[in-house]
C-alpha cells in the first residue's frame, strides 16, 4: 500500500497499518510527535485502534526551534 507521509509517498507491505506500527517502521518510536490522518488528528490513545489505509494522507509533526 502507498501512504502519503509529510508530502512524500511511502510504500509498505500489507493493506493497512496502525499508527503505532507505522511509527516503528519510520524509526520514530520514543520521539514526541502528533499525527493527522486525512486532516483529522489521531489521538495518542487511538494509536493502536485506528487503521491507516492505502492512499491516506498522513502528517507527522513535532516541535522545532522557532520564535
Amino acid at each position: 500500500m502507498k501512504i502519503h507521509i509529510n508530502g512524500n509517498i511511502k510504500e509498505f507491505k500489507g493493506i493497512k497499518t496502525t499508527p503505532e506500527e507505522l511509527i516503528i517502521k519510520l524509526n520514530l518510536n520514543g520521539k514526541r510527535f502528533a499525527i493527522e490522518r486525512n486532516g483529522e488528528i489521531i489521538p495518542k490513545k487511538d494509536f493502536n485502534k485506528i487503521y491507516i489505509n492505502d492512499g491516506d494522507k498522513i502528517e507527522i509533526i513535532g516541535a522545532v526551534g522557532g520564535g
Binding site: 524509526n27 507527522i60 516541535a63 526551534g65
Partner: protein, 267 residues
C-alpha cells in the same frame, strides 16, 4: 522579579499562570540546541516559543530533538503558528500542537499577511482567535500596533496582546512608542511586545512604556554572543520594569535644576 523596596512579588500573570520572568524567548536561529538552552538559562525565561513542523522522516532513532534540551516539564511551551498565512492553517497547526503537548492550551497565534514584511493579517488573526478561544485555547496573539485591533482581540478573549515594535527579525527597535502606550493604557490583559527588539536598550524602552513583557528571538540568537545578550536582555527588562514601577521624574524641558544646594556657596 521581586520589588526590592516593598518586597512584594511582581509576577506576570497570563491565563491564570504566574511567571517571575517578563522575558519570553523564541528558540529559532541558534547554532545548536545546546546554545539555545544556554541562552534560555542566561535569560532566566520561563516561557519559550516553539514552531510546529513536519518531522524529519530520515532521522536516526538517537537524533536529538529540541525537547531533549528544553524539556516541556521544565518550561512553559508556547507553540506558535509562524509561517501560517490563513486562519485555517493556524488553527490546524495549534490543534496539532495541543495534541503534541498533551492538551497544553497556551498558544501564540500569528497569522501573517506578507512574506517580505511578515506583517500580521489582522482580519485572519481575529477570525482564528475567535475559533481557537471557543475551542478552549488560551490565545496570546501577535498583532499590529493598531490600538483598535488590539482592543478587539482582547474583547474576543485573547489572554495577552502582543503588538510588534517593528518587523519580525528586523531589530529596528521601538518605532511607535505612542501606539504602544495607547494599547497599554486601554488593555486589561498583559501587553507583550513581540518582534522588533534589537538590543538591550530597546527592551528597556518597551518596559518603561509599561509593557508587561517582551517576546524576542533574533535579538538574542543573532547577537555575536547570544548567551551574553540573553543575560543583557534579562537585566534590561528588569531594569525597565523597575523604572516603570518607580515612575520617572517629570521632564523639565530647557530648564536645569541643580542637584547640589544653592545656599552656602563659597564666595
Amino acid at each position: 522579579m521581586v520589588d526590592k523596596i516593598s518586597n512584594t512579588s511582581d509576577d506576570l500573570t497570563i491565563a491564570g499562570l504566574s511567571f517571575k520572568s517578563r522575558l519570553l524567548i523564541g528558540t529559532g536561529k541558534y547554532n545548536s540546541f545546546k546554545e539555545t538552552r544556554s541562552a534560555i538559562d542566561a535569560s532566566q525565561s520561563e516561557i519559550v516559543t516553539v514552531a510546529i513542523r513536519r518531522v524529519n522522516l530520515g532521522q536516526s532513532p538517537d537524533e536529538a530533538s529540541l525537547l531533549d534540551f528544553i524539556p516541556p516539564e521544565q518550561f512553559t511551551y508556547l507553540p506558535n503558528t509562524a509561517g501560517c498565512y490563513s486562519s485555517d492553517e493556524a488553527i490546524r497547526t495549534l490543534r496539532l500542537a495541543r495534541e503534541l503537548l498533551d492538551g497544553h492550551n497556551l498558544v501564540k497565534l500569528e497569522v501573517l499577511g506578507d512574506p517580505d514584511t511578515l506583517y500580521p493579517n489582522v482580519v485572519e488573526t481575529i477570525k482564528a482567535a475567535k475559533i481557537l478561544i471557543k475551542d478552549g485555547f488560551d490565545v496570546m496573539v501577535y498583532t499590529s500596533d493598531d490600538p483598535i485591533i488590539a482592543k478587539q482581540l482582547e474583547e474576543i478573549g485573547c489572554c495577552a496582546i502582543m503588538p510588534l515594535a517593528s518587523l519580525i527579525g528586523s531589530g529596528m527597535g521601538i518605532l511607535n512608542p505612542w501606539n504602544l502606550e495607547i494599547i497599554i493604557d486601554k488593555a486589561n490583559v498583559p501587553v507583550i511586545v513581540d518582534a522588533g527588539v534589537g538590543t538591550a536598550s530597546d527592551a528597556t524602552i518597551a518596559m518603561e512604556l509599561g509593557c508587561d513583557g517582551i517576546l524576542m528571538n533574533t535579538a538574542i540568537a543573532l547577537a555575536h554572543n547570544p548567551i551574553l545578550m540573553a543575560s543583557a536582555m534579562r537585566k534590561a527588562i528588569e531594569s525597565g520594569r523597575e523604572a516603570f514601577l518607580a515612575g520617572r521624574m517629570d521632564k523639565k524641558p530647557y530648564r536645569a535644576s541643580p542637584s547640589s544646594p544653592v545656599k552656602g556657596l563659597i564666595k
